[in-house]
Amino acid sequence: MVTAIHELSTRLADQISAGEVIERPASVVKELVENSIDAQSTKIDVVIEDTNHQVIKVIDNGTGIVPEQVELAFRRYATSKISQSEDLTRIHSLGFRGEALPSIASIAKVTMQTSDGIHPGVQLQVMGGQLGTKQPAASRRGTTVVVSDLFYNTPHRRRYLKSANTELAKITETINQLALGHPQIAISLRHNQKEVLQTAGRGNLQQVIGGIYNNQILKQLLAVDRSTDDFIVHGYIGKPELTRASRNYISLIINGRYVRNADLSKAVIAGYGSKLMVGRFPMVILELTIDPSRLDVNVQPTKQAVRLLDHQELGLFLTETISQRLQKQNLIPQALDNKVVRTTVSAHNQMEVALNLTEATPPIAQLPATPQPDQPVKSTQRSVVGAPILVKTSDDLQQPAVRAFQQRYAQEPAGAPFENQPTALKTFPSLRYLAQVHGTYLVAEGDEGLYLIDQHAAQERINYERLRVAVGKVENSEQPLLVPLIFDYSAAEALTIQQNLATLASIGLQLEPFGSNSFVVHQHPTWIKAGQEESTIRELIDWVLVHRQVSIADFREQTAIMASCKQAIKANHHLDQKQAVALLQRLAQCENPYNCPHGRPVLVHFSNTDLETMFKRIQDTHDSKESEF
């Protein structure tokens, strides 16, 4: 018997499309809340109850649906939000495909109660795509949708559901994303009578962020507001110290829609330049407004992926916005605000050290011996290398040359400092150790003046150069575990990890698949410090997830950096004379003793001239001589 080709029954078609739109309870929540947002609600309550699997209830105070149209809402491709296909190019609403409600109703029991506040309210139940009878209901303005028995008729899907807790976590994440995009709506989430989240709906993004993460974090965020003819951005970016192990803390909201877009995330990270620790990611919440016709949201049924016509421009705009915001932050450290002299010296010298990293720059020795205070760099001077930048007061920091330099340095790709540095640096001074300050910095003198060395950064550099070689050798030794470690990932992440198992194995990480999206680790390389096994392995895997495909060389590099940092002496650690001297000696032997593997400076220099200027010996030579007599 031959099966005749036939049109899919609507019910089956709905079930198939449900498979695309509705992966799990969180997808239901997302679709329902988006509908409530589109209906101009100012208050949306989401209630999750764990009886009989999960019951999801979404209550809003939006426009509601007029009685005669309620059935339509459950019909496939029925939407009130767009009508002609040109409308697809100017979507202001979150929903537009007209398939969310029918999809949900095809695989669950859905009860909708709705009223526009004028007509009498109605209630309609739909289960497995079968419409029930419409009944009269209260005429409170707004809509209540209750979804239960999810996946009751698609048992293989139900089986893939994780524990109620995992699903709740996903739901929470979904609500967080929606709340971040809509600070003007009071959104609440309750689970088994317990409040999980509640936003005030006062339009204050900062308040929403505080509610979602914690109020502590607000102190570490910098406000960002910028607009051009094409883009408007408003939001908060974490200071570079506030890092996270994954990109999931970069939240980008475009025209009210939480979006995932790898290019834009990369652009955000690029804005941080070398300020982030390798393998760590910033926390960023940015609301972007762009012309809807420049944005294609109809890429994927879940509407989270977007295609941007101007993604390069937008990326650049983001990178620039962030790097400028961070520079403002860095250049004027508060502690130094009223100590112009110190700002001067350290800023000046940090730059000298940094300048040496660019090939085109003459080494310190070739820089003019005395600064010329009366000849500030002319604002027309465009090149940032080749000539020393003179900074005498904090106002000088505003010079175009300084800014240009900062910009250039900030945008130096994070990889650059790790490459073998051309050794224009034979001039590394011979340092005589003097003292340790606050268990953190070493003070040393050389013929050219005074040096402050960050002991952690110095040791990191030394370790790194040693480990870069050592990790490359295959004589990795392994520490077996009595109780194996188990790592859980999302399906997408697990796939990427699967593809990179060989790379991970090449540095001694043997991940074995364990259940659907989990991996088990029975042993680990011995360079991983005790007590940090899990976090280090996670960081390594995270790194694979970010870079997708990685070469073994990259990976070893990363591994070495991570190990060098973990093994380095931390701040607030007393070093005795011998240890300090040894550290300085080993530093001098490094290929690039000037930067730690993360690109931060290892030492700063106060030249003799700087010192003399600071104590006004240069300007006042004559006076001071006289007063001695």
Binding site: E478, L481, L482, V483, T526, A530
Partner: protein, 379 residues
Amino acid sequence: MNFSINRVAFIKALNVVQRAISAKTTIPILTGLKIDVTDHEIMLTGSNADISIQTTISTANPDNELQIQATGSLVLSPARFFAEIVKKLPDRELQVDVADQYQTTIKSGNSEFNINGLDANGYPHLPEIDHEHQIELPAKLLREVISQTVIAVSKQESRPILTGVHFTLEKHLLAVATDSHRLSQREVELESPLTSPADFVIPGDSLKELSRMLDDEEDLIKLSLSENQVLFTFGETQFYSRLLEGNYPDTSRLIPNSSDTKVQFAAGELLAAVERASLLSHESRNNVIKLTIKPADKQVMITGNSPDVGKVEENLEPQALSGNDLEISFNPDYLREALRVFGSVPVEVAFTSALRPFTIKPLERPDEFIQLITPVRTF
């Protein structure tokens, strides 16, 4: 509430409960000290999310010079502030008097403090204890069990269950801890076995705190259980700790029951040699030392190797050795910590192969205490 009391006796009791009170807690009332006064005694309570400590001061003990005029309960917060006041009071005695709205007056000599108290009804209740699961252990023995096991507890918060010591009680008390690189297990015969077995995990930090409090105790310590708490009772004091939730991994199969190579040492001598060798291994990236055992030649050699710094080799003098030749590498820190708890008694180190965990036991009563260390696989 109104009572007067000897200041030194009161401070002693305050110091005991203050161990459980932390200034950093998410439940504000727990920064306070709870005082319950009944007809014949005062009970002080301090608590944090992990442990709670209760101690009683009775009128029966004349040293307390306790006189109770009126009963009642209240919470004084923060506890540290109250304790500072009491410690600085001038007189031998002090009097505490609580008026309406928990207004508390503390008098001693000519000094008088007025502080605001809180309603004790807001203070969390301590759990009901089940008296079916109850055992008694001498303080010294309990201290020993704790010190022998907490060393192997994991510091990784990401695997919370391993941050505790796993206890199983029936005929014996069995205490096991592992951070998954090493394992430590202590067994104690119970004088009066339990009728039904019990199985629970106590946070390592709670045990360390308890052990500190047991320093001067000589008597029997009573251990009782509730669903999610364990209670240790000693003298006038009750020490509650939360139990860790979750299933402890099955460790019974991890301990090998046979061995192919055995070496006996004085624990202290082996410890000294390991410490010397680890001077070098600490300089290397792997932190690994190697034992080479050749029973036929009566030779045991320990080597540490750091490509950057140099090499150390030392011939050890074991008290006895037998079995097959073996070369095995491991992290010396684990062996060092394991050996420290043995003091100077003779121990037997038993190996099966270079890749299997090895054990360390005391020569005397080897069944009571065993430590297991995983070797490092070198390529």
